[in-house]
Symmetry: C2
Subunit: 190 residues, 2 copies
C-alpha cells in the first residue's frame, strides 16, 4: 500500500514528539517504531525533519479537533464535565512521560524559519481546538464571548495539567484542578 509506510512514520513521529519533543526526537527512533527504512524518510518527506514534524503535528491537531467536535452539547456545566472526562485519559498518559504533540512543536529547536513554520502549525491547531470548543459551548447556551473565554481557559487547563501531571508522575494535579474547575463552572453557569 502506498500511504501505509508514510502513515506509520507520521504516527511514530507523533508518539516521539509527545515523549521527547522536537529536539529530543530522532529519526532512528521513528524508523525503529514505524519499521520503515532510512531511505523512506527523504522519499516521503523531501523536506526532512521539519516536514515530518510539521505533518505529524498537523495530523495530531486534526485528530484532537475531531474528538472535541464529537463532544455532546449540553448545559455549560455538563459540557465542562464531559470535556474533563474526555481529557482525563490523555492527561493520565502524561503522568507516564507523554505530552501534547502540538505543544511540543512550539519549542524552538532549529533555524528561525523552521521554528516559525512549526509555531504556525501549532497556532492553527490550537485555534481550531478553541473554535470547536467555542462552538460547542455556544450550542450549550453560552454567549459567544463567554464561550470563547471558557474555551481558551479549558485549553490552558488541559495543556497545564499535562505539564503538572508529567512532573508529578500522577494524575493527581489534574483531579484536583478538575474538581475546582467544575466547582467554578457550577457557581457561574447554573
Amino acid at each position: 500500500m502506498a500511504g501505509d509506510t508514510r502513515d506509520r512514520m507520521i504516527e511514530a513521529t507523533v508518539d516521539a514528539l509527545r515523549r521527547r519533543g522536537v529536539a529530543g526526537m530522532s529519526f532512528t527512533e521513528v524508523l525503529r517504531e514505524s519499521g520503515a527504512a532510512r531511505g523512506a524518510i527523504y522519499h516521503h518527506f523531501p523536506g526532512g525533519k521539519g516536514q515530518l514534524v510539521a505533518e505529524a503535528a498537523a495530523r495530531n491537531g486534526q485528530d484532537v479537533r475531531a474528538t472535541l467536535a464529537a463532544l455532546p452539547a449540553a448545559d455549560p456545566v455538563g459540557f465542562v464535565a464531559s470535556f474533563l472526562a474526555l481529557i482525563r485519559p490523555v492527561v493520565e498518559c502524561s503522568a507516564t512521560g507523554s505530552g501534547c504533540a502540538v505543544a511540543a512543536v512550539t519549542i524552538a529547536s532549529g533555524e528561525p524559519a523552521e521554528n516559525a513554520s512549526l509555531r504556525e502549525v501549532a497556532a492553527t491547531a490550537f485555534t481550531a481546538w478553541a473554535d470547536t470548543l467555542t462552538e460547542r459551548l455556544t450550542v450549550s447556551g453560552l454567549t459567544p464571548d463567554d464561550a470563547a473565554g471558557l474555551a481558551t481557559t479549558l485549553l490552558a487547563l488541559l495543556e497545564g495539567a499535562q505539564v503538572l501531571c508529567r512532573a508529578a508522575g500522577s494524575a493527581e494535579p489534574f483531579d484536583r484542578m478538575a474538581d475546582t474547575a467544575l466547582d467554578l463552572a457550577r457557581s457561574r453557569y447554573s
Copy 2:
C-alpha cells in the same frame, strides 16, 4: 569571584532551557551566553549536563517560589487578580518563544535515570509553588481544600497559558483566559 562564573552559567542555562528545552539546549550556547570557558563546565559541574540543568531548574523554581510568596494576601478574588497580574509579564515573554524552565525539564531527553532525577526537580518546584499559593489563599480566607484546589488550577492555567501564547505569538490567549478566570472566581468566592 568564586561563584561568579558558576552563577552566570546557571543563569544562561535557565535562559536556554526556557527557549530550547533540555534536548535543544547546547553547551556551546550556554558558554557563549555566559562567557565561560569550555573547561569550566566539568570544573563547576562534574555531573555534566544533567547536573547543570538540574541546578538551573532548581534555582528557577526557588526564584519563582519567592516571587509567589511575596504576593499580598487579600480576599480570594483580589488574590487571583494579583496572581494574574504578576504572571502576565512572564506569559508575555512566552509569546516571543520563551517558556517555563521547570516545565522544560519534565520532557525526557536522556537516560531514564537522569530523566527521573530531572522530573523530581520539577515536581519539587511545582509542589513548592502550589504550597506557597495554597498558603496565601488560605490566608486570604479560603478553606484549605478550596485553597489547594485553586492553587493547582492557577498553576495549570499559568503553564497552559505559556504554551498557548508561545504558539500564538501573542499574549491574547492569556488575556482571554484571565478574564474568564477572574469572572469564575468572582462568582464562586464573593
